[in-house]
Every structure is written in structure tokens, then in C-alpha cells.
Symmetry: C3
Subunit: 149 residues, 3 copies
């Protein structure tokens, strides 16, 4: 079979572009965590503070933990999106819907990080920024399942 | 090169179908976690309880932590399966073996969640439900590595 | 469109081979965690110690936690690499650079696990082993974004 011959090029390009943006966004989480660790002097490995005998291991700093929760939330939501977004393309979706779903997921997940781990904004800011990509992934998953049933 | 021209269509469809089912299964973990957080009033962010001054942050509720461990176990096992299952297809596997491996992985991972985070069943229920997809992923990885060596 | 017709076969084979090696490396983390749990008798689920009434739940063993941190670091770094490495191939990269990036990522991530969770080696061993794949993923992401802009 010729697997990818019927793919819409706009959909494919939008998927790769926005997914790559989200990879960068996820990688930035490590920098945010590192910044909080240095700022709060909250290091978790003895070898990381070997040259600073005054420091102690600190595993419960609230600012560090907040960034780590945002990062874990990325793993739980963005990584499955990469997979289901790819499968969704293979189900020949409506190009207009597909391209805008990818945009919505990417913009919402960037907003999620901003309101969760950069500047804390009252709820339901984070709930909404989480729900849009979550519902989008569900929609893509159900469409893919029905197509490949 | 024409990358995907030799793929067996049954294998490809089984992979996309069962992987999409597993994406849905992973997404459901967030609902399970949220249900336990509301049931046990165990919230971890100050902004999540801003309107309920009587509540306090609670990070160690055993029922919430159990669902979170099941979710993390999904990240550790299902996400690598998505990757190695895709590579395995590219190694032109025996279709009968491949389709049934995908089924076994999906059914076992659903069972894993049920016995770990929904109704706790004594060991070795969870160990077996974990081992089948784990061994399957190893098998797929070794076959892929030998094929692409 | 014919999506994968222009892919360089050497780049494609190097990506699948080294990524499969990294899948095996990630799967091995579960064995390392299990070994530490049995060695230190640090189990986290009541059903796991049901037949050993003398044991208690133990969630803070430093050796177990160290392996778990290394595993989580894999999820944060290797899983996004699988995604961005695949997209990077689609951007028609220079084959020599691409093949050697994939090699560098795989070898560095294996080294990261060794110096973090097997034999603890003073910093900056772990920092360097982390930085090489991290910077490589960033490079691949920026190239992909520019190509698909």
C-alpha cells in the first residue's frame, strides 16, 4: 500500500510546524526548572551541591514543584497529542478543521504553561488552557478510531 | 526511497486503531485523577482552592497518588510502545504476530489501569498486566534493531 | 502528495536504529527501579507487600528515587527527541549532520543513565550527558520550524 499518498499537504505541514513549536515549548520547561532550582537553591542530588557544603538537598520547594507539575502535565497531554495528531492526519480529516485544531492545541498549551508556571493567573485560566487541547485530542482520537474500525 | 510502500495494510490499521484506543485510555487518566481530587478534596495548587478558604493543599492523598502512579506508568510504557510499534511496522513483521501483539499490548494496558487505579486487585494481577506489554515492546525493539542494524 | 519519497535512506535507517536502542534503554529503567525496590525493600503499593506483613510502605528511599528521577528525565528528553527527530528527517537535513546527531543523542542519553542511576559520577558528567541531546533536539526543532514555516 502507498500509505501517505492521500495526505493533504496543508494539514501535514501545519501538524509538523505546530508540533515542532510544542517540542520547543516542552524543552524550555527544563530551563524554567533549572532557573527555579538555582534561584531557590533547591537541588535534589548530592552531587549537584558537592562544591557548596552549606547547601542541603531540598525536594519540596513550591516554586520548583510548580514548574515540575506543569512539565509533567505537558508529558501527559502534549506527548499523546503528537501521536493522535499524526494518526488523525491519516484519517483524511477536513483540512480546515484539522489545521485549526493543531493551532488551538499549540496556542492553548503555551498559554497553559504561562498561567501555570510563569505568571500564576487565577482559575479558570489554567482549566480552560488545559481543556481545549484535551477535548481536541479526544475529538481526534474518536475520529481516528471510527475511521480505522 | 519510497518509505512506506511495503507496509502490510492490516498491520498498519491494527497499529493505528489500537494505539488510538490507548491514547483515549491515557487521556481518561486525567479524569480519574480529577475525580479523586474532588472526592478527597486533595488539591495541590493554591489557585485551585482560592474560593474555598477552609481547604488546604494536600499532596499525599493515597487514592490520588495511586491514580497518578498508574498515569506515570502509562507514560513510561505506552508512550515508548507508540514509538517502537511504529518502527516495528517498518521492519516488515509477520502480520499475524504483529496484529496480535498490538491487541495484547492494548488489552493488557487497559487491564493494568483497571486493577491498579479503579478496583485494586491483589498481585500478581498488576504485574502480569504490566509484563505483557513490556515484553512485547522489548520483542518489537529487538526485531527492529536487528532489521535496521 | 507523496510524503516520504525524498527521504535519505541512511538518515532514516540511523533514526530508526538509534531510536530503537533508546526505547530499549528506557525500558531497562523499569528493571533498574524494580531492582532498587527489592534491594531496599521500598515498595509503594499495599498490595505489593501483602504477603510480607513486616514490610511498610516506603516512598522516599534515595536509591529508588534516584533511578526514578533518571527515568523521568528520559521521559522529558528522549520522548520529545523521538518526535523531533522524525520531523527533522522530513526537513531534508544534511545526511552527515543528521546521522551523527542521532548517534550523539543516543550515546549521550545512555551515558546520562550510567552516570546518574548506575554509578554516580561527580558533576559536570551528568550535565554534559544531558546537554548534548538537549541542544541537539533544539537544533533539530529550529531547523524543522524554519523548513515548515
Amino acid at each position: 500500500m502507498q500509505l501517505f499518498n492521500n495526505i493533504n499537504e496543508d494539514v501535514y505541514r501545519a501538524y509538523v510546524f505546530w508540533s515542532s513549536v510544542l517540542v520547543v515549548k516542552m524543552l524550555v520547561m527544563s530551563i524554567l526548572t533549572g532557573m527555579q532550582r538555582f534561584r531557590k537553591k533547591a537541588f535534589v542530588n548530592p552531587e549537584d551541591i558537592a562544591t557548596q557544603p552549606k547547601l542541603k538537598i531540598k525536594t519540596d520547594d513550591p516554586d520548583v514543584e510548580r514548574v515540575r507539575r506543569a512539565h509533567l502535565n505537558d508529558l501527559e497531554n502534549i506527548l499523546p497529542f503528537f501521536v493522535i495528531g499524526f494518526f488523525y492526519i491519516l484519517s483524511n480529516p477536513n483540512p480546515f478543521i484539522a489545521v485549526n485544531l493543531f493551532r488551538a492545541v499549540a496556542v492553548s498549551r503555551i498559554a497553559h504553561t504561562l498561567v501555570y508556571a510563569v505568571v500564576v493567573i487565577p482559575q479558570p485560566a489554567r482549566a480552560i488552557a488545559w481543556l481545549i487541547p484535551y477535548a481536541s485530542s479526544f475529538y481526534m482520537a474518536f475520529n481516528t478510531i471510527l475511521h480505522f474500525l
